[in-house]
């Protein structure tokens, strides 16, 4: 019965982290909008970059965590890994949705089209489909052990599928701007913009882990309560 107070404590702690990271996110936007120069050709539209790119980074990080936890789960059978994978998939899906919403807003202004079947757009879209499939699968299985095994299998296969989809769509033509930070020559972004971008990456990473911690703490609490109820029912019998 000590599991419930412990889970409640970590839920409260994660709430504090969310408050801190929301303040940091607000700070990034103040910096991006007020203290970072406007891009010469794209103008204000480029500001969405400071949401879009870091969201994409944490979304892919989230999907990576799902893949790793799924693989580990099949070996270790630790239910906490399953809860962590589920939490990460859910938070990752939120950020993937952000990417898929902010991208077209920028694309309409700069490319003149809301959507193109470019390599990265397609990959992100399919990653989103896989994540949705993962979340839907979890709702369709009741027994926790089976749900964890099935989710782990889908998590592993999904992680393997990503490079294949990437190559498939690369064999078509691609239109997306090439990476501006992680490239072999030195970054071509002007210093002040680069700083804002890197700060936004760091802040979004903190924000992601705060959300992940909260979602995970909540899952633990729900599980502890369910267990507590089952024990109480056993005791009264």
């Amino acid at each position: 019965m000590t599991a419930i107070p412990a889970a409640e404590r970590s839920l409260r702690r994660s709430g504090a982290w969310i408050a801190v990271s929301l303040a940091l996110v607000a700070g990034v936007y103040v910096r991006a909008l007020v203290f970072t120069p406007e891009e010469a050709t794209q103008g204000l539209a480029q500001k969405i970059f400071y949401i879009h790119a870091p969201s994409a980074w944490v979304a892919f990080l989230g999907c990576g965590i799902v893949g790793v936890c799924s693989l580990l789960y099949l070996f270790l059978k630790d239910p906490r890994l399953d809860l962590l994978a589920a939490s990460s998939a859910e938070v990752g899906t939120v950020f993937l949705t952000t990417v898929l919403v902010t991208g077209p807003i920028w694309g309409k202004t700069i490319w003149g089209a809301w959507w193109t079947w470019d390599a990265r757009l397609t990959l992100t879209l399919f990653l989103w489909f896989i994540c949705l499939g993962y979340l839907v699968l979890r709702t369709a299985v009741d027994e926790p052990g089976r749900r964890a095994r099935y989710s782990a299998v889908l998590g592993i296969l999904g992680a393997l599928l990503v490079p294949f989809i990437h190559v498939s769509v690369l064999l078509f033509r691609t239109l997306h701007p090439k990476p501006v930070v992680l490239q072999t020559s030195r970054p071509q972004l002007p210093g002040s913009m680069l700083t804002t971008l890197l700060v936004s990456f760091a802040v979004f990473t903190i924000f992601f882990f705060a959300l992940l911690a909260r979602r995970y703490a909540w899952a633990r609490l729900r599980e502890a309560r369910a267990q507590g109820e089952a024990e109480a029912a056993d005791a009264s019998r």
Binding site: I130, L132, A152
Partner: protein, 226 residues
């Protein structure tokens, strides 16, 4: 190894024999495929788009939907009277179960395709005889790709709520690579393009088949353990 293959063969033979006796699933998959092909004829404007440009899409959309339909059969069959428990209690290993189910599905989908392909050539006036060998290679590789993943997914989907719908949601993202590769290669083959133009797709599809065959064989156990 010989043991494993013998067990897998026994399971595949059992499935195919069951199917051969009733033929319900096979006939319905076949009628479904013919219907989709016939409906496609009315879903296009023959004066605007040349048939040969549309042919690869028609072929692969038809094949992938027929394939997914067929995949449902493999494990829903075992769900009746909880026959799956008997299979799991038998001395056959889980790997043999997966290999047997995959082999039976391959034969099943392959048979549907073998009848649908001439029908497709007939309906859409596509000259197949000259390009049969490369086309059959492409069809075989793409079918192996989605049957290996699909068999694994159907073993999970059968135990979920709304299993048939769930199978579609789970399998369709995995069809991107086999279907895009197969459709691109078929288009090049129909257009008489040289092998070098579609070789990258062939490599990708082969890599996909090998990767997913190995990984699905390894993780299958996790989907049936009780």
């Amino acid at each position: 190894m010989a043991d494993l293959l013998a067990q897998a063969w026994a399971i595949a033979a059992k499935d195919l024999l069951l199917e051969f006796r009733s033929r319900t699933a096979f006939l319905s998959a076949l009628v479904f495929t013919a219907l989709v092909l016939a409906i496609f004829n009315f879903a296009r404007d023959p004066t605007a788009v040349a048939t040969i440009d549309l042919a690869p899409s028609i072929l692969w959309i038809t094949f992938s939907f027929a394939g997914v339909l067929a995949l449902n059969r493999a494990f829903s069959l075992e769900k009746e009277n909880r026959a799956i428990d008997g299979l799991l209690l038998s001395p056959a290993s889980r790997t043999a179960l997966y290999l047997g189910k995959t082999a039976a599905n391959l034969v099943f989908v392959g048979a549907v395709e073998a009848i649908a392909l001439p029908l497709f050539a007939l309906f859409f006036n596509v000259p197949l005889l000259g390009v049969l060998a490369p086309l059959v290679l492409v069809i075989a590789l793409a079918t192996i790709g989605f049957v290996t993943v699909g068999t694994l997914m159907s073993s999970m989907a059968v135990n979920t709520r709304f299993g048939e719908m769930m199978l579609l949601v789970l399998v369709l993202p995995f069809l991107v690579t086999p279907v895009s590769a197969a459709a691109s290669m078929s288009a090049k083959i129909f257009a008489g393009r040289p092998f070098a133009e579609w070789a990258p797709w062939l490599k990708l599809l082969t890599a996909y088949d090998i990767t997913f065959f190995v990984i699905c064989t390894l993780v299958f156990e996790a989907t049936v353990e009780e």
